[in-house]
């Protein structure tokens, strides 16, 4: 009961302090808002890009050809072993007959195809078509497949895998850099806000310290203030992004359907379900950590200056 009263007291003091320094509180919350908004935009771009890549990755395949005379049994044995790998989405066996039928359909006209009669020039071209879960793992899988006996040739597209991996890395680095700068600005502003709050309450802190208040009791209101700044800073961008995401996706689909056919978008509920917890952890985390460190340092200074 006593602890609850102390917590309520600290919350009350934190809210009072935030209100007393409302201009600084708003400035700090505003920076977190900007930070979180940009974080959200980058996250949405990356998440949708990943989603598109994941969808596309299942289309990027590796084709495995076998040495002449390799039995169907052996090929199916290899297929089974490859299927067990966690980075493999699926493995399809294409018999020599299916390969010839496909070739005829894709590359020969009917007349030319008829000249072959019942012969199958691709008699030794039974193959396995492997689709990956993550295209960046392609190299490792190729090396693994090449290690099998009877494997003659492994066809794969290095450029697609590399460009997908490259774009993901680039986006990751750019967004991390930008977020780091914004976090630094947010931390700086929160520290300024908390320091102002502390200097306004300097007298009170010094009295509290002398008459035996615990560190927790003295610091907690400022940590509450930091939490409040973090929370305020997260509400607006989350709401705005929720609204904007739906609108932007709808517009992209309606107006630029031909350009964006290759792109796959996550649903608003799906992406917000991932983003909201992340945003709260981010904003509350910055608020709590920055205010805790600032309160600890500033209060020690006051105690020493008394």
């Amino acid at each position: 009961m006593r602890k609850i009263r102390t917590l309520l007291y600290c919350f009350g003091q934190g809210i009072r302090s935030a209100w007393r320094n409302r201009m600084y509180t708003l400035a700090s919350a505003g920076t977190i808002m900007a930070c979180l908004f940009l974080l959200g935009v980058f996250y949405f771009v990356i998440a949708n890009f990943n989603y598109t890549v994941e969808s596309a990755e299942t289309l990027v395949g590796i084709t495995v050809f076998f040495e002449e005379g390799t039995t169907e049994e052996r090929i199916l044995e290899v297929k089974n072993e490859i299927s067990f790998r966690t980075d493999v989405a699926d493995v399809v066996y294409i018999s020599a007959g299916e390969a010839w039928e496909k070739y005829k359909k894709d590359s020969l006209n009917e007349e030319l195809a008829a000249t072959f009669g019942t012969d199958n020039p691709l008699a030794d071209s039974a193959s396995l078509e492997i689709h990956l879960k993550d295209v960046t793992k392609q190299d490792a899988l190729v090396r693994y497949v090449e290690s099998f006996q009877n494997v003659r040739k492994v066809n794969h597209s290095e450029s697609i895998a590399e460009s997908f991996a490259g774009i993901k890395t680039l986006l990751g680095i750019v967004s991390l850099g930008l977020i780091a700068v914004l976090v630094a600005v947010a931390v700086f502003l929160i520290r300024t806000t908390i320091s102002t709050g502390i200097s306004v309450r300097r007298e009170e802190i010094s009295i509290m310290s002398i008459i035996g208040a615990t560190d927790f009791f003295i610091r907690a209101p400022f940590v509450v203030e930091g939490m409040l700044i973090g929370f305020l800073g997260s509400v607006l961008p989350v709401g705005l992004l929720y609204f904007l995401y739906g609108e932007v996706i709808r517009t992209l689909r309606e107006q630029f359907e031909s350009v964006f056919t290759a792109l796959q978008f996550l649903s608003r509920e799906e992406i917000m379900g991932r983003f909201v917890p992340m945003a709260l952890v981010f904003s509350l985390g910055i608020g709590i950590i920055a205010s805790f460190i600032t309160a600890k340092r500033q209060i020690r200074k006051i105690e020493l200056q008394h």
Binding site: I207, I211, A213, H306
Partner: protein
């Protein structure tokens, strides 16, 4: 036998001193000593004046007792406990056993008299029921019950110091430290505060008063410790301020 001979007080001196300074020196800057080799014992129930000119080290002694600073050399003990060995989380608990009043009162201007006194109990998590019982008792003791709803700026200096006294006493400290408690008061208010301190002392609280006020020191006839340039130059039972001039 003198009329004010108190056997209990004399017997209590056989016990562990409440405050002990053991070869204490304090340097804020290298080579400039605020205190130098102070050896001192103050016993339970004593009323002690610490006098001396500005810069003689009086306030440094108070700061050492509050464990705001640590000695450069030597040790400070309170009830046998070495303050230098207190961990940070133990300091707050220790300070609750020390009441302190300052020359500038240090009241919270945005809270009324009652809230200023109750604040000292709230921060040490005293139950509200106990606060409601204890605070009026203390306000009556210092004669400010009628002013309980007034804010500090509506009070005279003497009244503000009485609020500070009530706040210092509300948690039943065993020691009361007063740093120039009459420094901002006129003679009438000064005497009121000193007589309150004397009453508090008679109830068993050890009182240590740092002061410049010669008239009060001379008339009260208490133990007087005189500091000069960081050293104790005299320590007299029923002493007089004039020793400071020696």
């Amino acid at each position: 036998m003198s009329a004010d001979f108190d056997i209990n007080r004399e017997l209590s001196k056989i016990e562990t001193p409440v405050i002990t300074f053991e070869h204490v020196s304090k340097e804020y800057q290298k080579g400039i000593a605020a205190l130098e080799n102070i050896n001192l014992r103050i016993y339970k129930g004593e009323f002690v004046f610490i006098v001396g000119s500005s810069g003689s080290g009086k306030s440094t002694m108070i700061r050492l007792l509050l464990k705001e600073i640590l000695p450069s050399k030597g040790k400070v003990f309170v009830v046998g406990r070495d303050l230098g060995r207190l961990r940070r989380f133990q300091v707050s608990k220790y300070r609750r056993s020390i009441g302190v009043v300052f020359q500038d009162f240090r009241l919270l201007k945005d809270r009324n008299v009652y809230e200023n006194v109750a604040f000292a109990q709230r921060i040490v998590e005293v139950p509200e029921r106990q606060i409601k019982r204890q605070v009026p008792k203390l306000l009556s003791l210092v004669g400010l019950m009628e002013k309980r709803k007034a804010y500090p700026e509506e009070l005279s200096g003497g009244q503000q110091q009485r609020v500070a006294l009530a706040r210092a006493l509300v948690n039943n400290p065993m020691i009361l430290l007063a740093d120039e408690p009459t420094g901002n008061l006129d003679p009438k208010n000064s005497w009121e505060i000193m007589s309150l301190l004397e009453d508090i002392n008679k109830r068993g609280t050890t009182v240590v008063v740092v002061t410049h006020n010669q008239e009060i020191v001379d008339r009260m006839q208490k133990r007087v410790i005189t500091l000069k340039d960081g050293r104790i130059i005299s320590d007299e039972e029923k002493g007089r301020y004039q020793y400071a001039k020696n």
